[in-house]
Symmetry: D2
């Protein structure tokens, strides 16, 4: 990762007690302390240390300090809206070729979980242009992106659905909004030739309306799908089987391309 | 994308006829021609032009030239082995936080489809260390990575399963190999604290054996799952429904982390 | 089973060669012969024998003669239309409490696969009233039902969608037809209080329209669902995993009840 | 249904208030009363009336009295064990051709939900021979079967796993028990030629062991599968989509046949 190798004040990190392997999520703050059964840890003893460092509590018990994974960062954003699930975010990012240098418009940024993922992937030269009609939600997303150290890679805009985006020749557009068809023509206008469109859509009727709008706007290679994730229970004695609990549905995905 | 903005000799690109919207995949080669119902196109008229350029055939019919998407590149690699599906590759890349700067060991690189994805994501400072026990398969992967313009970001090694990897403090290890448990302890040794492990596994018994080996090696946060993709048929007249065809199974995924 | 215990001329039965365990489906016909690698079998040597009898070929090789299972009978009907899958037929039969004595209206009987199942279950005192707008398809269904020895339990009618059914106080109504909403009010009129409605529906829009019509007609406890079947590959050496092939979709089911 | 057409003392029935369409489940008991917002109903006013009768409360408010459906009866049995889901019970019943006249052995009858279904289907001439190693659970099943008015069609036996069953030439055997392989050879011995075996199995290892035992015992046409049920949310305004909640797994099914 190109992230600074030492843990910074303001970062959210995981502290794991080596004794019982209990894990604590803390936002590193100068002067603050973490109280555990294995003793007290001073944030100042962590700040400035490299990731993976062993940290001793006042009881001389060892802890290890690591950064959260990308998925953990996404799932732990402060939320004002429903956030996108990793199963869907992963597929959107791949299908839209979100990679270093990409310039991406996002409409309906919500709490910023997908923003955070995409900003991580396009560094250092790419940009995420994150639009939302709701200025209040956007403040939450801004805070989440900022805390993740990604503010330099994201520009935020408040915009009503259907209005033109301020960028052109972008590589990808992601729409996660009610009435996504309103933004499909503006998306087409802002995309470069070869650029890709991705939508996450809550029901069958909206999927149909969005696909119709995308066809009208000239998008091609339209593909609609759904991603299901099935957890497996793997136990050495009791045996292997799918988990009894499963998330039944999170949304349909629709992808297209501008030629 | 940080890729050169002009289309290069040796690149595989898509040429789409604007008339009937038929698309051709061609490897740009000086002196070669593409014959279509809309006329002949000289590769030399495409080489050196920016992505998205309009190209005219000898019949003055317009074509547009674009690069394949990341998924198209993965799915079109020359194959000597079964390749990983986008649904699985996307989730592995996200779960292992594959992003700019990451250093990743891959064992069982096969034909290089996942290598190609990960190399794209870690540019420019990260590296993929791609291991395979089969030198012949690896030659195919090398060729695929090279044609994708990613040779600078991948180092290839031939290694027997169970032998130690040559790198240390890597951010992630991916194992896509028979008997993956053989490589789990070497993976643990090569990972940095906080680094992540990902496996793709063909059946329930191997999933159990791999999870047992990962527990023994000290991996934590072990999570096993399966990703299913369901295509939707979205037709304005006939209505919306899931496709009748579905891929039933491609593999189990197992993830863990070194603390 | 209340079926006659001896195998009858006209029945379709399975003949299995004990040597190589190869199975043959034959319609027992006086005077006819079956030619196999294990020798010739005269149908007359099978007719009149009890199910499960050992039959010898002219080469003195043993065969066993059994009746097809209910599922095999359903799947082997002569087809003029798409037939219902066991996964869906089973759930419809249970949800509608199709059992001995039940009187059931079916609209859109098609080739008679579900008719055959329901007629088997309601014997001897129940009845299936099988409607179709297409007299030609119905002839195929009649033939299938007759060959299965179930003609006494089924009455066939040709009827346009939306016309009233000729029965009242039936226990259940099954609709498997285009535009099923046309028949929902007639279904409500023909059902007894406490009777149940079941539909199989090809897409999301029709599901919505049908549910709307069912609500308007006064149906209660409306439940919509889909049944998926996943085959497992169970191999002692290679291990256990879901099959790579899977039928992605066959239809939505909608159930309701008249109170 | 061949059930008596009048509602009997001891039956569990549904009383639905026509005003607000609220439904009450009551066990009809002479002298007892049901208190509702729409007034008091005397059970004696219901006993002896035909199903579907309108019943007036002491406030002259109308109620309708109906019997539960087969699924409702199964789901409402008094439980001492996990019961089988309709999605699985339906498929087992169909795959084993459970129909009027069938003679069926069941091992691991548990609380009797599947017993109740099968006893309903084999009436009046068939029989369910219900075995369990646990006499206490079996008492619960007996009570459930008896309350459903099906006692005449079921014989109960306590038996250790692996012991021979007391019947021969049965049409089907269902095993829903730990270590089902113990009962597979006895199942084969008790089945008629052409008879069918069905198992419900909790994990991949047991599925493999059971299939291995079934192959060794001589069963053929072995088929392993899993049934998934996906509820759909169908709302006229908000649109159609799968439910967010889903039961992830209930068991594998294994079927075979004796030739």
């Amino acid at each position: 990762m190109t992230a600074p190798t030492t843990l910074q004040a303001g970062e959210r990190i995981l502290l794991q007690a080596r004794s019982g392997r209990k894990t604590f999520l803390v936002e590193l703050t100068p002067g603050r302390t973490l109280h555990t059964h294995d003793g007290v840890i001073k944030h100042d003893d962590v700040i400035g240390r490299p990731e993976g460092s062993a940290i001793l509590s006042h009881m001389q018990m060892p802890f290890v300090a690591v950064r959260p994974t990308l998925v953990q960062k996404m799932m732990k954003v402060k939320r004002r809206t429903q956030i996108i699930y990793p199963k869907d975010a992963a597929r959107i990012a791949l299908e839209l070729s979100i990679a270093p240098g990409a310039r991406v418009i996002e409409m309906g940024g919500g709490s910023g979980a997908l923003t955070l993922l995409m900003a991580t992937l396009v560094r250092p030269d790419g940009r995420i242009y994150s639009y939302d009609r709701n200025a209040e939600f956007q403040e939450v997303a801004k805070e989440n992106v900022s805390k993740a150290g990604l503010a330099a890679f994201v520009e935020f805009f408040v915009l009503e659905a259907g209005q033109p985006f301020g960028q052109s020749d972008v590589d990808a557009v992601v729409l996660d909004m009610p009435e996504p068809w309103l933004a499909i023509r503006p998306a087409h206008e802002s995309l470069r030739l070869g650029g890709a469109l991705g939508l996450i859509i809550p029901n069958a009727e909206q999927l149909k309306a969005a696909q119709g709008a995308a066809e009208s706007a000239g998008f091609q290679d339209l593909t609609a799908l759904e991603i299901l994730e099935r957890r497996m229970l793997v136990r050495q004695k009791e045996g292997v089987r799918p988990s009894e609990r499963m998330i039944g549905f999170t949304g349909y995905l629709l992808f297209g391309r501008k030629y």
